[in-house]
């Protein structure tokens, strides 16, 4: 049996990133994710990596840009208001095609809101809170184990596509503890190996032509061309990187669609609800598992229920996937209210 250890979600993210080869962390405190910078401030200096507490989230994301520009594995984390402040930076990172990891441990909004868990930054994450056409690869773990796993995975994925990865989680998952297996099965690349292969990174032009990283493309047509290039890349990611989980019988009558902390709760509901209810859990929010949803919806005799901790955001992507072939209902609670198993059961009863 693999050795299990009790770990907090936030720490799992931090440990996962370190085990994934993190070179530099830059962040600014905000609840409910303070354990990440605090852990980093202790661990990174011990292994000769960089920890900087930035003066703001704006500075954090731009420091990430700097160390990503140099080809190093770079990361920041924050919670909703802080992530809003990073939107310009995220747009630049995507425009400049810089790999990095951003973690959003969501809290209740809008405004200062509160510090409970929430899922109200879904739109911001998957549609783009910043300006321009761009995409973040977005993971939504539903357990502390996945917090670790996806954090560890993110650098390789983000380097593969030269695109930022976001882990979109929330205060409940960030703060809760659970047994996980911290095991690095294959030897990880050290941070210097992938750096050598980054033929775009800036580290001084010794022995090669000078390099240039930019998103300003003023010559007529250049920016459009770059956008089409990005678009093809996003298509590739959509084809190859969709992750989801299906729980319950594929021929259930009602399919719940839920992610993250809500998906956990739905899983416990399904256990009780019997074989008539299934769950589709998007693991990547972008790229979204549209195909499988569309496939399941096709016969037309299914019903869908999207459950979220917000006023209805992912439900739009579910509807777009279902495209009218089946009814899609929504159950949600905003402002940090945690959806309960009873509420979901109640709603399901009305649908069965």
């Amino acid at each position: 049996m693999e050795k299990k250890t009790l770990m907090k979600g936030n720490i799992a993210i931090a440990q996962g990133a370190i085990d994934g080869g993190l070179d530099a962390y830059f962040g600014y405190p905000i609840t409910p994710q303070n354990e990440i910078p605090e852990f980093m401030s202790k661990k990174l200096p011990e292994i000769n990596k960089v920890f900087i507490q930035a003066e703001s989230e704006l500075a954090s994301i731009n420091m990430v840009m700097g160390s990503a520009v140099a080809g190093f594995r770079s990361m920041t984390s924050s919670s909703s208001p802080g992530i809003s402040l990073m939107q310009e930076g995220l747009s630049y990172l995507c425009g400049c095609e810089l790999p990095c990891l951003i973690v959003n441990v969501q809290r209740g909004g809008p405004g200062l809101g509160n510090i409970s868990g929430s899922q109200a930054d879904y739109f911001q994450t998957v549609k783009g809170g910043g300006h321009g056409d761009y995409r973040l690869i977005a993971f939504a773990p539903d357990s502390v184990q996945e917090m670790y796993d996806f954090s560890l995975l993110s650098f390789e994925l983000s380097e593969k596509y030269r695109n930022p990865v976001m882990i979109l989680t929330d205060g409940v998952l960030g703060q809760m503890m659970e047994p996980i297996v911290v095991a690095i099965h294959e030897p990880r690349a050290t941070s210097h190996e992938p750096r050598a292969t980054k033929n775009w990174a800036l580290d001084g032009c010794a022995g090669r032509k000078p390099r240039l990283i930019r998103s300003l493309l003023m010559v007529e047509g250049e920016l459009e061309k770059h956008n089409w290039h990005l678009n093809r890349k996003y298509d590739d990611i959509t084809k190859s990187e969709v992750k989801y989980e299906i729980v319950g019988h594929k021929d259930a009558d009602v399919f719940i669609v839920a992610y993250g902390i809500v998906a956990r709760i739905c899983k416990s509901v399904i256990k009780d609800a019997g074989s008539k209810v299934g769950l589709i859990r998007p693991i990547t929010l972008w790229p979204f598992p549209s195909e499988i949803i569309s496939e399941i919806a096709s016969p037309g005799k299914k019903k869908f229920l999207t459950v979220e901790m917000n006023l209805g955001q992912m439900v739009e992507d579910v509807k777009l996937s279902v495209n009218g072939k089946s009814p899609v209902e929504f159950l949600g609670r905003p402002g940090g209210g945690l959806v309960t198993a009873e509420e979901i059961l109640q709603k399901l009863k009305g649908m069965l």
Binding site: L6, I115, V172, M176, M177, E178, P179, S268, A341, E342
Partner: protein, 183 residues
């Protein structure tokens, strides 16, 4: 089997640590578990709590709407969470600090602070005394599981021993109260 437990008290009483010990105990017992502490400005007022769920099956929400167990290290916490207790749920109260009136539930008092002070020479071990007593009364976990949990936590040897002893003190406490009786 699924047990939802809240440990509560004031800052400095070791509430969060107690939750962690319970959860580690669950791991030792081969169970599923989650532990969800209060955090941030919630604890500014000085209260602290932790929700621990121990189950044979994977756990959904780490937040408990209703409780199988309440471990109250102070009065405030007792009053805040007692309404969530399910019929048949078990309450364990630190009677050294909390003067609460029992109702008709499985209500158990233990002068944990005094015991910790007297038997262990460390009043801060009251939390472990409470845990020991709780597992005895609830059967949620075995004493062995929780004791070996203590060893998993990276602490000094002496601290580990202290905690294990405190668990035993609580576990072996011959309570003179019975169900619902006042002390």
């Amino acid at each position: 089997m699924e047990k939802k437990i809240i440990v509560c008290g004031s800052g400095g009483q070791g509430v969060l640590f107690s939750g962690v010990v319970l959860a580690w105990g669950a791991i030792e017992a081969g169970k599923h578990t989650t532990c969800f502490p209060s955090y941030g400005a919630e604890i500014r007022g000085g209260s602290s709590m932790s929700t621990v769920i121990i189950s044979d099956e994977p756990i959904g929400s780490p937040v408990a709407e209703s409780l199988d167990g309440l471990i109250a290290l102070n009065e405030l916490g007792y009053h805040r969470y007692i309404k969530k207790l399910l019929p048949g749920g078990i309450v364990v109260v630190n009677s050294s600090i909390a003067k609460v009136k029992a109702d008709d539930r499985n209500f158990f008092e233990i002068p944990a602070s005094e015991l910790a002070d007297r038997e262990l020479g460390n009043i801060l071990s009251a939390n472990m005394v409470m845990i020991g007593y709780y597992i005895k009364k609830s059967g949620a976990l075995s004493l062995d599981a929780v004791k070996s949990a203590c060893e998993k936590l990276k602490y000094k040897k002496s601290a580990i021993e202290l905690n294990k002893n405190a668990l035993e003190v609580g576990y072996n406490y011959e309570n003179k109260t019975s169900k619902g009786k006042r002390r």
